[in-house]
Symmetry: C2
Subunit: 231 residues, 2 copies
């Protein structure tokens, strides 16, 4: 019997409370973790010379920490040794919501927005574990089935850590919500599910035919962005 | 015979020339347009109180203009009447690139990053056309098959315009590129395609059974994020 209390939600802040559609917001840790664990590409925003920059990049979650990586030569990572103010956003689109009125068209989606200060990971053990976590976030089972980074490769790679503290999720599910007076309009209305999955793995030209497709690529693994437990 | 010269590429700028992997960058208008036309969700970045904010939102492309919309009560749109510095990024993930070394793992992807100043659209005709374009970007054929926004709905909706001027695309395709000395390592290597599509449309509970599924939802239309011409 597990009598431990669930972890407390993330405390809302000026940055994480939306000005509208507040009923779609969640600060629940399990909800936030689930959305983050369903993806591996985030959009990382930062400010350079006073202007916003948004770049897609891989991430991994490890407990209450997120890691992103990049070349030590990349601009955001060069500036992060002293701490870089970032906004990291992960979005999954689950369905197209077609109402009878154009105004009530919408998407079903799950997103997480994380605000905070990203810092370069300097501890070699944490850095190595973070790189493993990023590979595992994309293909669970892969980190142990590839050659780990050597010291030259580790030196060329920068890893940023962002703690999960100022965090919110936003979720829309369900069908369209039309105005009552539109109910008799002759337009089809409903939801078109958006699906995501993996095609058949394509071996590299120089793959030794004796190397079999590993089990973690043949198993019925969840598709990226698919809700947990979905077909 | 079409003797017109192709349109010139977007001029590279300090903001759009990457510091690394420049061979993946493109400023070609057809390439940029193709990537934008394959999606409908962007990540819009702006600066609020000196900090970056990145929010997912719908967009549409119309020629050399992008449109995004939102409630007139939302924070970024409230601030945009005088012009809001933004970075708008669209990303499609096409494949997981599994090299023998963890270091050379990568993604096949196509992304576009647009820098510029977003301004509120005040002309009623342009605003109405932009809202149609956003519906059409998500489901081609839908704008004419739904009730257009009335004056109250138009007043509650803000539309921002962002001209395509400071723009770059970034693309990775193809297989892994391992170090020659890793060629004999016993790890599977290749690409796992990432697929995206639509499930069977789910009618709303109150849909009149006499309303048939429209052709634009039954046709073999391209999936969001799928490269043009892909299966």
């Amino acid at each position: 019997m597990d009598s431990a209390a669930p972890p407390p939600p993330y405390p809302p802040s000026d940055l994480t409370v939306p000005t509208r559609l507040r009923e779609r917001a969640s600060y629940d840790r399990a909800v936030v973790h689930g959305i983050l664990d369903d993806g591996y590409v985030c959009h990382l925003g930062f400010v350079r010379d006073g202007r916003p920059v948004v770049l897609p990049t891989l991430y991994a979650r490890s407990g209450e920490r997120l890691y992103v990586h990049g070349s030590t030569g990349s601009r955001p990572l060069r500036g992060a040794s002293a701490g870089l103010a970032v906004c990291l956003t992960v979005t999954h689109v689950d369905g197209l919501v077609l109402a009878r009125s154009a105004f009530h068209h919408s998407l079903n989606y799950r997103s997480v927005v994380v605000h905070g200060t990203a810092r370069q990971v300097t501890d070699p053990a944490e850095k190595s574990a973070a790189l493993d976590a990023i590979v595992e976030q994309v293909v669970p089972g892969r980190a142990a089935d590839s050659r780990r980074a050597n010291s030259r490769e580790l030196a060329a790679t920068a890893v940023l850590r962002l703690d999960l503290a100022e965090v919110s999720a936003k979720i829309r599910t369900g069908g369209p919500s039309d105005e009552p007076e539109d109910a008799a309009l002759p337009y089809w209305t409903g939801v078109v599910p958006v699906t995501r999955g993996h095609g058949q793995p394509l071996p590299a030209d120089d793959l030794d035919p004796a190397v079999a497709l590993p089990g973690y690529l043949t198993a019925d693994r969840p598709a990226p962005g698919a809700p947990h437990g979905a077909a």
